[in-house]
């Protein structure tokens, strides 16, 4: 069993630190038990159960840092990994940017652990997949999917007196339903901390319906179109803004947030004034760890308010240099929306394209955050407020920053999962004008 209790983790970390001869030492301990089941061609393919632990030891002599990891936890291995981190630190040149480890911190209690999820068995997984397969077969589609559950813990301790511990559970499910002739494909995914919220039947029904409706797609010319992005499609574009909020990159002039003369977009209007984005680790819909990997407590942070950049992320070194607060990477991101449902957004669209999923997103130009990728698993042409017919997939080249300046309307917020990063978000569906599709794809 790879899951240690708070007391067990604390005792083990104390032992690790007892071996330290460095000026400072910090140890991060994690463990997970995961179970998964994978299926394709309407039958189970591979599945498994994995139990693993990882111990990361960071040792510092002055401003010289070494890091070593190990997953064997006997006394000899614990001492070995500490000695190795110390050797690396002694051999490494001094890093003037080294910041001493944090002292004791206060953390709020988390809501990340759900006992029901921790109690999943191989039979429960097989039953959940069996239900999904039945829905796919009833719909005359061929299903491929994946269900994975995890119970885990993370603990850290350092020689400055910091100690943190958290347990969590999560379950992720995704399914693709393709028509038997391979001409239609639909996808749906859900992620929760609590397995009781997951209904594989209803998720598979969404994928099956999309798969059937997307068959016999027609080709229309690439170009600039008004699009309605479902939250899953919006997530994989917009998250690239959050990934690039680093203050140092912006200050150094090598970010989409950099401006001529060494200035940045901090405090300036970046996108449409209806865009407000914040991170809230205490939102009950997005449970997350109360602390970050380096021990900083998580807090609610405003990133974009009414279109204006309100905060950037700061490493502890850069924050110290700039004399500002060190703000970690956002977690549990919420984008405010409107009151309309997806159907109402479609109803109010004279001519446009409904995009349900985007795929293979890559950065083309970091200067403008230009991204490329393709639509996938259900793209539809809208005319006079109704879906007219499914269309062939497009490649797009678009920047989420430009896109959020071309905002027409936001719908009602819902929880979604990024298929690129696996992160969960609360995001609205959104209507965007002049979204740039550059070529057609024959892929289904």
């Amino acid at each position: 069993m790879a899951i240690l209790t708070k007391d067990e983790a604390q005792a083990l970390l104390k032992k690790v630190l007892s071996y330290s001869k460095a000026d400072e030492c910090e140890a991060n301990l994690t463990g997970t038990n995961t179970g998964n089941i994978r299926y394709a061609r309407n039958a189970v393919s591979t599945s498994g159960g994995v139990s693993q632990t990882n111990l990361v030891v960071s040792s510092a002599f002055g401003k010289k840092l070494g890091v070593a990891t190990i997953n064997e936890l006997d006394d000899a291995s614990l001492e070995k990994v500490v000695r190795r981190a110390e050797e690396l630190a002694q051999l490494a040149p001094e890093n003037p940017e080294f910041v001493p480890f944090l002292g004791p911190q206060k953390y709020k209690d988390s809501i990340t652990y759900v006992p029901a999820t921790a109690a999943i068995t191989p039979k429960m997984r097989a039953d959940a997949v069996s239900q999904s397969l039945q829905v796919a077969k009833d719909g005359k589609t061929v299903a491929a999917g994946f269900l994975q559950d995890t119970i885990g813990y993370a603990a850290m301790m350092n020689t400055k007196g910091l100690f943190a511990y958290n347990t969590y559970t999560n379950v992720n499910f995704s399914v693709t339903a393709r028509t038997e002739d391979g001409k239609g494909s639909g996808y749906a995914t859900r992620g929760y901390n609590d397995i009781t919220k997951l209904d594989t039947k209803s998720v598979t029904k969404i994928a099956t319906d999309k798969g059937l409706k997307s068959a016999k797609a027609q080709a229309i010319e690439p170009g600039k179109y008004t699009v309605i992005l479902e939250p899953a499609a919006a997530a994989v574009l917009i998250e690239n803004i959050f990934f690039g909020m680093d203050a140092r990159q912006a200050d150094e002039g090598r970010s989409f947030l950099s401006k001529p003369g060494g200035k940045t977009s901090l405090g300036e209007k970046l996108v449409d004034e209806r865009v407000t984005i914040y991170s809230d680790p205490w939102n009950p819909e997005l449970p997350t760890s109360p602390w970050t990997g380096d021990g900083r407590p998580q807090e609610k942070v405003s990133w974009i308010e009414k279109g204006v950049v309100k905060n950037l992320t700061y490493s502890r070194f850069w924050a110290e240099k700039k004399g500002v607060k060190a703000i970690p990477q956002p977690d549990a991101i919420v984008m405010e929306g409107g009151t309309k449902s997806l159907e109402e957004l479609i109803k109010g669209t004279k001519k446009g394209i409904l995009v349900t999923r985007l795929w293979y997103i890559r950065n083309v130009d970091p200067q403008t955050l230009l991204l490329t990728g393709l639509t996938r698993d259900g793209t539809f042409y809208i005319e006079n407020g109704v879906i007219k017919f499914p269309i062939k997939n497009f490649r797009f080249n678009e920047s989420p920053v430009i896109m959020l300046n071309n905002l027409e309307e936001l719908g009602k917020v819902e929880r979604t999962v990024s298929v690129e990063s696996n992160a969960n978000y609360l995001l609205p569906p959104m209507k965007i004008r002049d979204f740039t599709f550059t070529s057609l794809s024959d892929a289904v």
Binding site: R41, P93, A443
Partner: protein
């Protein structure tokens, strides 16, 4: 330990079992400008047990290596297989595989990178950074990644296989900023991740190809590349923005490897063709009927592409794959026609083969092995032809060096690629540098537009440490070789945009 797992699984009802005991060592050196930001050594040790019971697969992995924990993991693998067997449409059918007894394989490295002192490696990266900064760069981030996989495989077929695998990847990103305009450009290293030891960094004159920049064969001169990169990134800032349209492309192996990877490597994975990756990585346009026809023209008749898991210095080279099959080489595209796929033991019968092609791999002891891409490479042209010979024939073209942005659809039809360096070609002559370049094409159209391939004297490897596939996702390291090649009439777009 392996026998404990094999016996425990058999006693619980497994009809087949394989066991992988692995120790995975990684080292990362991370620097920027005049600072070593981090030195990290990672080590992971454990066992993965895969079984067939009631006709279905089960897998369990543990890092607790006492006999009791191993037996429990074997028991869990069998119970998962039995539980899932009710969801099968047909039982797993394994291609026959003889046991090899006790055998071993070791990567033919000359200098173990893990035995090179940290100081020597840090000094190299800092000298590279210094060269770039003195050359006018504003920033440089440089990295050295080294990997050692020590793997032991045992199966109920009677194989006990010990393997020692090494990989290395030195790389950097140079950034130059025009503070007045706020524009910036980057230039990445032209190195390749390799299945080699530290000898990859022993620069030798015979491994250099001199042209608009220096290109590298089996050894890499990181210092020289950084000096050249610093000058080129400044030139990139001033380069002409490309006029969109049709161009003949001359693609260097440091760029072409990624196009081969995405447009040939992935669509010829048999698990994708069959639909096993439909929920994540996708399926393939290279359906079985195209292979069965024996006349599907994937590319022009000079396009010959091979799979090879025995290629010296490549990332995918091993003696045996992760289900105990000895590795080799076979044709994928022959004279432009699709002739084969990449298979593992439970797929071989679908192609009428009575043996696996040895493409099974797991990225860790904790991951279940499945079909992964072997090294997939474009064979050099048969006629004597240099890079200059290729360029001479081009009226309007672009010479692209280094890999950049990449994206391809889930069936591998439509792709878009960028690079590191773009040079305009006019009337057979290389002109100035271009920027904002990306090309879009369709796989079959693109490979049928291949009208020239340089000879074997230009052959080089590129590759990736991080090919992603599967759920849960696993990474795999794979190389792709080629000589410089010419593609006619490819659509080039301009990627410049304005914010605000």
């Amino acid at each position: 330990m392996a026998d404990v797992a094999l016996n425990a699984a058999r006693s619980k009802g497994a009809s087949y079992t394989d066991v992988r005991i692995g120790r995975y060592l990684n080292q990362y050196l991370i620097t920027r400008e005049d600072k070593v930001e981090n030195v990290v050594n990672t080590e992971s040790y454990g066992m993965g047990i895969r079984v067939i019971a009631n006709g279905g697969w089960g897998f369990a992995a543990t890092d607790r290596m006492d006999n009791d924990s191993i037996a429990k993991a074997a028991e869990l693998a069998v119970s998962i297989a039995k539980e899932n067997s009710r969801l099968l449409t047909e039982p797993v059918k394994l291609a026959p595989q003889r046991g090899y007894g006790e055998v071993s394989w070791k990567a033919p490295i000359e200098k173990n990178a893990f035995e090179v002192p940290i100081k020597e490696k840090a000094d190299l990266l800092l000298s590279v950074n210094d060269a770039a900064m003195k050359g006018g760069a504003d920033f440089i981030n440089s990295f050295l990644f080294t990997v050692n996989e020590q793997k032991y495989f045992a199966s109920t077929d009677g194989s006990y296989i010990d393997q020692d695998i090494h990989r290395i990847w030195p790389t950097f990103i140079i950034t130059k900023i025009d503070h007045a305009s706020g524009k910036f450009e980057t230039r990445n290293a032209l190195s390749a991740p390799m299945g080699m030891g530290y000898e990859y960094l022993d620069a030798r004159p015979q491994d250099k190809i001199k042209g608009v920049t220096t290109l590298y064969k089996e050894r890499y001169d990181m210092l020289e590349d950084a000096r050249l990169g610093a000058a080129q990134v400044a030139e990139k800032l001033k380069a002409k923005s490309v006029e969109p349209g049709k161009y003949d492309l001359i693609l260097d192996p440091s760029h072409l490897w990624l196009t081969i990877h995405e447009s040939t490597g992935h669509p010829t994975e048999l698990d994708r063709v069959l639909g096993y990756e439909a929920n994540f990585a996708g399926t393939s346009f290279l359906t079985l009927d195209k292979w069965e026809s024996k006349k599907f023209t994937y590319g022009s008749n000079i396009v010959n592409i091979v799979a090879d898991k025995s290629q010296k210095g490549s990332l995918g080279a091993v003696g045996y794959d992760d289900e105990g099959v000895q590795c080799g080489r076979w044709d994928i595209i022959k004279d432009g026609v699709l002739v084969n796929y990449q298979t593992i033991r439970d797929q071989a019968h679908i192609l009428g083969l009575n043996a696996s092609q040895g493409c099974c791999y797991a990225d860790n002891w904790s991951s279940v092995q499945f079909q992964r891409m072997p090294n997939i490479s474009l064979l050099p042209g048969k006629e004597k032809k240099s890079i200059d010979d290729l360029i001479k024939g081009v009226e309007k073209g672009i010479y692209i060096i280094g890999d950049g942005s990449f994206s391809i659809d889930q069936q591998r039809y439509n792709f878009q690629f960028g690079g590191q360096l773009y040079y305009e070609i006019k009337n057979g002559q290389i002109g100035g540098m271009l920027k904002d370049v990306a090309y879009q094409s369709n796989t079959q159209e693109f490979w049928n537009a291949c009208v020239g391939i340089a000879d074997e004297s230009d052959y080089r490897l590129g590759g990736s440490f991080f090919d992603g596939k599967g759920q849960p996702m696993q990474t795999s390291a794979v190389s792709h070789g080629s000589s410089t090649a010419r593609f006619s009439g490819v659509n080039v777009i301009n990627t410049a945009r304005k914010l605000g």
